[in-house]
Symmetry: C2
Subunit: 317 residues, 2 copies
């Protein structure tokens, strides 16, 4: 049989009931997607990647991290990269692990920063060598100083559903850390399923508990990993609960260091395919985005794990 000739570049648009009209995609490919790449990607390639992402219509692109170069060598070029892209007409948040990182980001004129907390003691210890409370105490002056300069602050919260050491994470424990991040001044949260184990009932339960704790859904972003193939159904559940900010990574770049499979972050293309079919506005040109991911995949020397990228670019698995 031959391949069909009609264009299937977009799904049929049929809105489902009770979903938002617009979703803000928070693109993490340039930071979260690249940070675990062993071979250092040249700074000019990173800058071009971000420029191409911006040209697809993505409005929020996390650019880099001002973490100590010793911990994330891939992002040691943050000082070189940020000025290359700072003039793009998009939100360009950067990760800052501590006050030193904030200083570096502010010196370059960053207008949005993000801190990276943990919902579990085990991951706080492994990732930050601190207790959950000690990590929050470390972030307090970071958030306060950023706010004093009208710099927006996102609070990432990892291990919101399962933790590789502790197993399932109790919902009240996650709510407590969310409240602490908001109380210290974070403008928005990103609820991370860092190891990709969540399923829709768990997502619904956490979002319900946050609503009951007085957290407005407008400050909540969701950050699902596709390690077990669950990211998009969890995202759909979050949209049904009123969430309108979704983290994803162009081409599905990046992943969880605890799962050997490369399937980590939800691919922005797979997300956009679903949102376009639902008639939900994202502002993103899917064809340009696929082309960008194919271009980046060529630089990294392996195909994108995104199924939509593969289908639309006819990449072999």
């Amino acid at each position: 049989m031959t391949t069909g000739t009609s264009s299937l570049g977009l799904p049929m648009t049929v809105p489902a009931e009770g979903l938002p009209g617009r979703v803000r995609i928070y693109e993490v490919g340039a930071r979260d997607g690249l940070q675990n790449e062993k071979a250092v990607v040249p700074v000019e390639v990173k800058a071009e990647f971000i420029r191409r992402l911006a040209a697809t219509g993505l409005g929020t692109i996390e650019a880099t991290s001002f973490v100590h170069p010793k911990w994330v060598p891939q992002l040691a070029d943050a000082e070189q990269l940020y000025p290359e892209v700072a003039d793009l007409p998009v939100e360009l948040p950067v990760l800052v692990p501590n006050e030193r990182g904030l200083d570096r980001a502010l010196a370059l004129g960053a207008r949005r920063v993000a801190v990276f907390a943990s919902a579990t003691e085990s991951f706080a210890k492994a990732n930050l060598n601190r207790t959950v409370d000690e990590a929050l105490a470390m972030f307090e002056p970071v958030v306060a100083r950023a706010k004093a300069q009208q710099v927006g602050v996102r609070g990432y919260l990892s291990m919101c559903f399962g933790d590789p050491w502790e197993g399932p994470v109790p919902v009240p424990q996650v709510v407590k850390v969310c409240r602490a991040l908001l109380d210290m001044g974070c403008d928005e949260l990103s609820l991370g399923d860092t190891i990709g184990v969540a399923t829709p009932g768990h997502v619904q339960a956490l979002l319900t508990a946050l609503r009951e704790a007085g957290v407005p859904v407008s400050v909540i972003g969701v950050h699902f990993h596709d390690t077990y193939g669950q990211a998009l159904s969890n995202t759909l559940t979050a949209l049904q609960q009123g969430v309108t900010t979704v983290d994803s990574s162009a081409g599905g770049l990046g992943g969880c260091p605890y799962a050997k499979s490369a399937t980590g972050n939800l691919a922005t293309e797979d997300l956009v395919w679903m949102l376009q079919g639902l008639g939900i506005d994202t502002g993103v040109d899917l064809g340009r985005l696929v082309a960008t991911s194919v271009w980046m995949a060529a630089h990294l020397g392996r195909p994108s794990p995104s199924r939509t990228v593969r289908a639309l670019s006819h990449q072999e698995q």
Copy 2:
């Protein structure tokens, strides 16, 4: 960082509201999954695959197809295979394209058969060399004769959402063919998104239209492909609409011949991961199922495309 030591063999069980308590998984790996494999899988391997699938707790396993060997050489061993597995305590439906196929299936004692219709003229022409109505006319005596012998009949309907030649498929057109299949005596339907383009609003619209046309949800099965990564969110939508039969393929075997990517059928493991997390009974032992898919992948010489299989078996991509 080191990998965690606690067991994450199962997601945390948190039921979502409005979902069924039990889902019948209709396993298609042995037929739909294998039929496009170029290298012929030995009949004893197929029989062992089906035995292992049955041992995981799967209750419905489509075994083979009594199509003419010229069209699907991989399944030319149907006469040898079926008797090898016929005594398993599971439902073992077989595909029958026409009366000749039905004769062959009945001669071996098959108690459940399936016919394969198309919602679109283009695919009916390409796959069956007939119009939609001509194909239905061909199935009429097949269904009538099966029913006369109390043999159950499933009606597959392909291209229910998008068609590679025609683009988006109008919902009324799909409803019409569904009604025709039920009116001629089919006990159940399988709504196929053969090229994987559907999104949740489209799924909701088709299921709503079928309900309004008087089709009971209890006879509807859904058959989603993961070509664009959408299968599980579409499945979740179908469950929210009351569907309780879901087609899937162990290890994600098989795929759509129109997409070059190997990511075709929804992987049974990815489905079971979601259903277990939702507290929905499937009767399936996920560990045994993953082991079965890893075993089959070794026979086929390439890793399973299922993300859950990869994560739980630590297969590299």
